[in-house]
Amino acid sequence: MFRLGSLIPKSEWSTITHILVTHGDPDHEWNIDRVAEASRAPVICGKDLVKRVGSETLVVAPRSRGIQYDTPLEKVYPIDVGEVVNFREFQVKGLKAVHGPIKLKLFGLIKLEIKPDPDERIGLGAIGFEIKIDNKVIVNLGDSLLQREWESLNPDLLMIPIGGRKVHNTMDEEEALEAVKMMSPKMIIPCHYDCGALLSRKLNQADADMFKREVEKMGLECIIMKYGDEILV
């Protein structure tokens, strides 16, 4: 009845050239070692996801519950906010990202709140990415709450979470609109909303159509992407 699956299809894994990881939650990090093994691609992630032990670089075990640095990766670029990694074809810069707490109701009764903390797995190593590629700037903010430090970014393409209305683990639609106003990107892709997880069809619910309408009122382009959609920019 239950199953585990990869969102990025396995058929894509071997042709990946670089892997970017915004934080250590399972819905973001689960397959990094497997994709890295299949592709031999380097991993770029926040510093707190990685520990250097002897000659090995170990990342937090992707499929364990706690914080155990036991998974070796061949090529890792741990970065902090403001740090830059230059590859031949593109550049990555670390951006401030702050993961919100996770608030859950179990069986409709038991309330559970997990706050991000250095000793807590939720949001571990949170970082956003500014990617400069093909004369364009792409910003991905991971599961972040609104941060004033993004004000001067002005990307060509902004990937922004909007599903934090109930749980507030990320921005909600209104906060994401505030971030859009601050950054004035040319194009916006809302993400991390209406996700299926456990028994819920729509964890992180959001009104993407309303978000799109409000973005378009600012004279900016908003593209709602469904599973597997692709666009040319």
Binding site: F2, L4, G5, S6, N31, D194, L198, D229
Partner: protein, 44 residues
């Protein structure tokens, strides 16, 4: 440049010889709901 999206924060950015995966992740849900969830989002 091509951008692909796979729900959550999972993206692929493809340009020339580069293929960047952002947050290669997992989904863990009731298989019946996988279909519902993804068809609701227009695919699979």
């Amino acid at each position: 440049m091509k951008i692909k999206h796979y729900l959550y924060n999972a993206f692929i950015i493809e340009n020339d010889k580069v293929k960047i995966a952002i947050d290669p992740d997992r989904i863990y849900i009731c298989s019946g709901l996988v279909v519902s969830s993804r068809s609701q989002n227009g695919a699979l």
